[in-house]
Structures are given as structure tokens and as C-alpha cells.
Symmetry: C2
Subunit: 312 residues, 2 copies
């Protein structure tokens, strides 16, 4: 089983270390602060603050390096990868994929990089919030664009399986569009809905009358703004397309309301879409032999159908 | 205790009959069909299908008449009120208030009308779904515009209290604006979010990756479209104002995303608003002596502060 070097020990990196260790992997990593490293060591993990040392060991062990730092902290880490372990097996756990791929191409271009996005989280953060079960049954997107190293692809998939996750292959631009639509746009809608609903200070009638529709529709506006900003701002182009799609639909709805007063088109389309979501079938777990010329295209197709890759 | 005549025995009317009867009131009513009337009779309630007979009895008993039919079915019922019990004590249970007040002014102008909106509901409908506990702790808005009959106001408030609800006084236009913002707009946002998120048939990647933010943000898009259309379309003017407020905020956000890429203003405002909602204090229950010149203005102020009227 391949060893794993985790750079960054926040909620995701810390959970990943715990899950990989439990699965019997050799795991080490680095934290951003001495205090976090000490907390991880106290919990029995091999964590320091010397990135170069961790990467040197990764190069020697031919380990899989997982970058689990925020998008905004990526550049210096990738520069150390390029300096110390330039051709290492590399993946990441950042929630957008095109921006990370661009950064890798710029700062660690020789790395054998296959992007990843374990789709799990809680409202907590930091090493202490980590949980070996965080990825159980969660989708773990693995980049499946043409030209990727299939050997590293298998490493990333095996790590995801070891953590209990479902492997969802996707082209990185399609991933970013999908998360813009089903995660980032919902966060912006929740923010706007909360602002409109709360109205002016001193007029608390609306808040007093609010019930389930407002509570649910604004729930994720309670997320820490820094987290929302990091994921949304890192996905600018795809998010802009999703926002424009939404604005087009809202504009048509506004026109209908102002002219005929009719909202049936909007409400019925939304109801159908929600019903389609609610009836989404369980993904099929399809084993894929990770070789052959068209395997990445095949993987992307499988992900578009909503299925997941099973262990071969 | 004043007798209660309930016209309409769906979820709201049926629950109201059960709750009022449990509180010791004399209650009778009418259903739209023989089958529903028979079901109510089988449950021990005095329900027929003859509206004129029910209203004649209401006039004789000086009962409080509660119109609990959908907005679209209001006109014929109000015409019977005007013909049979023209000056009766009248309230309603419809979810918008300006449109009902306009209809009463047109079709039953002599009635002593004080509008009401018990804010409770389930995804179920019909007599069988009724529940004497439906209004427990729920807000029951009672119209508090100048010129209303304080004697009938007390009747409506006492019925709400008898049903276990909290009495929230509000001007009818302020009520309609508030529910547009915290109930009707959330339903439209959920519909648009579901449509954008579900995307095209055959591309199921986004649905496969959807998690809590999408599930919560689209939940009320699962409501029966007829119910959503009835409440939203009946509140056209106020809803249009809420939609324009939201579109203004979304447009500013879109501009920021496209130009600087920054979303902090949107996300932080939404977070603050949600936190303000989450920290809404429990309403104070303030007894109000229902007489005096300015009592209705006083009641409206109390409602604007998010408080409720306690039994005097």
C-alpha cells in the first residue's frame, strides 16, 4: 500500500490522515503551526512543520503527496514540491479544480498530478475537528482529463476507497461547473435570501413570521464567510455562468409576474427538477480496468451518468 | 365563548374546527363536497354543504364566521355572506391579506371583517390531514389597520389563543410584504435553484455531487405547485417588490464577481442577516387592553417589534 504525505492538517487533511492510517497506510504530514503539529503528535500522528523534510521523505518513498491547504495558500507549497520532490505523485483536496490545475502547471509543472475533491465537510474546522469517518460514503471527485497518469489515478482512487469514499471521475471544467451549480450558487442564493428576508433593523415582523422555507433556504448563509468566499471566489468563471443562468430564469419569472402575474412556468420547472433530484438513483459501482487508450474518456462518461468507479 | 362557523374544511379549516371544539366552542361548518362533509360528520363534527344554512345559523347566534377556502374560491362564498349574514363577525385564514380585504370590500362590504392568517401548514391537505394541534405555538396574524372593529378583533384573537397560537398584529400591507420576503420569495428561489442545479437531462454529474446546500436550498420546491402558485400569485404586488430587491442584490453581486471577483459584500451581509435571524429573541407576550383611540396603532408597533399579544 502506497505511503501518503499530507500537506495541511485542517479538517480535510486531518481527517484524511486519520482515515488513511486506520486503513493501514504509512502516513506523515505537515501542519501550518507548531501548535497544530503538537496536537497531531499528541494524537499519535507523524506531523511536523518542515515541508521540505516531509517532501524529501515522500520522494524517497515514492509516496502520494496530498495538498490539503486552502486555494490561497497553494503557491508556496507547490514551489516546495517543485524544489524538493519535483516529479512526485501529487493530488489535492481543494474544492475547485481548474484553478488548482493552473497553479500546478505554473509552480510544480513536473509533478505527476491528478486532482481530487473529497466532498465532505462540517461547520467545524482545524485538526481537532478531524474525523476518520468524514469521507464515509462521500463523493470523492478524481480528475479524469486526457493525458493524466493512470498509475497516479489508481493511487488517488485507492486512497479514496481506503477512506470509505465513492470515486466520481470528472473532467475538471465539468466538476467546477457542477459544483458552481449545486454548491456555490446555493450559498449565494442563501446569502441574498437572508438579506432580503431580514430587511431593515427595527422591523422584525418578517423575522417573527419566518418559518421553514426561510430557515432552510438561508441555512448555509450561517457558514463562516471565509470558507464561502474561498470556494466561490476560486471558481469565478463557472460560478459566473451559473449566476447568469439563474439571473436569466429569475428575469423571465419577474417579467411573467409583472405582466400576466403567472408563475406556473417557474414553479413547475423547479418542482420537476427537485423531483428529479429526489428520485436520483443510487450510483452504480462499476469496476474499470485502469488501462487502455480511452479509459479516461470512459471514466468521464461514467461520472456524467452519476455513477462511481468500483474497485477492479 | 363565541360560537364559530367555519366555511371550508381543508387542512386549515378542518384543524381549526377540531382545535376550537376541543377548546369548548360551539362549532359548525360547511365542506365543498358531500364526501368531505360525511367524513367530518363521521368524526363527530357538525358539517354540511349548505352554506346559506350555516350562515343563517351564524347570524342568529352572532357567531364568528371564518372563511377558510382558497383565495380563488373566495368570491362566491363572500357573496353568500352578503346575502344571508351581511353584518356578521367575519375573519379568514387565507395566506395573503390585501387581496382578501379587497374581495371583502367588494363582495361583502357590510361584514365586520378582521383578517387573519394562521401560519401553519403541512405538506398534507384535506379534512383527513386536519389536526387540533396544528396551530400550537404558531404565529396567527390578525389584521390591525385603522378602523377595524375592536370587538371582532378580540373574537379573532380569542379564537387564535383557543387554538394555542400566538397573536401577531400587523397592517395587512406589511403582512403581505413580510410573507413575500420570508415565504414566497424563498419558494421562487428554491424553484430556480432546483432548475439551475438539475441542469440538462443526461448530465447527472451535478446531481450526483449535490449535498446539503442544494438539498436545503431546494426543499420547498418539492411543495405541490398548486399551493405555491396560489400563495405567490395572490400576493403579486408585494412579491414583485421582494423579487426586485433580490434581483438588485444579485445584480450587484454578479457585477462584483465579473469585475473584481469579490463576493465579500454579498456573503458577509447574508451571514449577518442569518445570524440576526438565528438570534431572534423569543417574542414578548404583552397584554393589550383592546380599547382606546390608538390601540390599533399600538398593536401594529408591537407586531413590528416581533412581539405577540397576550391575553388581557
Amino acid at each position: 500500500m502506497r505511503a501518503v504525505c499530507v500537506l495541511g492538517t485542517g479538517l480535510i487533511g486531518g481527517s484524511l490522515m486519520r482515515a488513511a492510517a486506520r486503513a493501514g497506510r504509512e502516513v506523515w504530514g505537515t501542519a501550518a503551526s507548531e501548535a497544530t503539529a503538537a496536537a497531531a503528535v499528541a494524537d499519535g500522528f507523524d506531523v511536523g512543520t518542515d515541508t521540505d523534510a516531509a517532501l524529501t521523505r515522500a520522494a524517497e518513498a515514492d509516496a502520494l503527496v496530498v495538498v490539503a491547504v486552502p486555494l490561497t495558500a497553494l503557491e508556496p507549497v507547490l514551489r516546495r514540491v517543485d524544489a524538493v520532490a519535483p516529479t512526485c505523485r501529487l493530488t489535492d483536496a481543494v474544492s475547485v479544480k481548474v484553478a488548482v490545475a493552473d497553479a500546478v502547471a505554473e509552480f510544480a509543472p513536473r509533478a505527476r498530478y491528478v486532482g481530487g475533491h473529497p466532498m465532505a465537510g462540517t461547520t467545524e474546522s482545524g485538526w481537532a475537528a478531524g474525523d476518520a469517518d468524514l469521507f464515509n460514503e462521500a463523493a470523492w471527485v478524481v480528475a479524469a482529463d486526457d493525458g493524466l497518469d493512470l498509475d497516479v489515478w489508481r493511487d488517488v482512487a485507492e486512497l479514496a476507497w481506503a477512506c470509505g469514499a465513492r470515486v466520481v471521475p470528472a473532467a475538471i471544467d465539468e466538476h467546477d461547473i457542477a459544483v458552481a451549480r449545486i454548491s456555490h450558487l446555493p450559498h449565494l442564493f442563501a446569502a441574498v435570501l437572508a438579506s432580503v428576508g431580514a430587511g431593515e433593523q427595527g422591523d422584525d415582523l418578517a423575522l417573527a413570521l419566518s418559518a421553514g422555507s426561510f430557515a432552510d433556504g438561508t441555512r448555509v448563509a450561517g457558514t463562516r464567510p471565509e470558507l464561502v468566499l474561498a470556494m466561490c471566489e476560486g471558481n469565478r468563471a463557472s460560478l459566473l455562468a451559473a449566476v447568469d443562468d439563474a439571473l436569466g430564469r429569475l428575469g423571465a419569472m419577474r417579467g411573467a409576474l409583472a405582466s400576466t402575474g403567472g408563475l406556473a412556468a417557474t414553479v413547475r420547472a423547479g418542482h420537476e427538477a427537485r423531483m428529479r433530484w429526489a428520485s436520483t438513483r443510487e450510483p452504480l459501482e462499476l469496476p474499470v480496468a485502469l488501462d487502455g487508450e480511452n479509459v479516461l474518456a470512459e471514466l468521464r462518461e461514467l461520472g456524467r451518468r452519476g455513477d462511481v468507479v468500483g474497485k477492479a
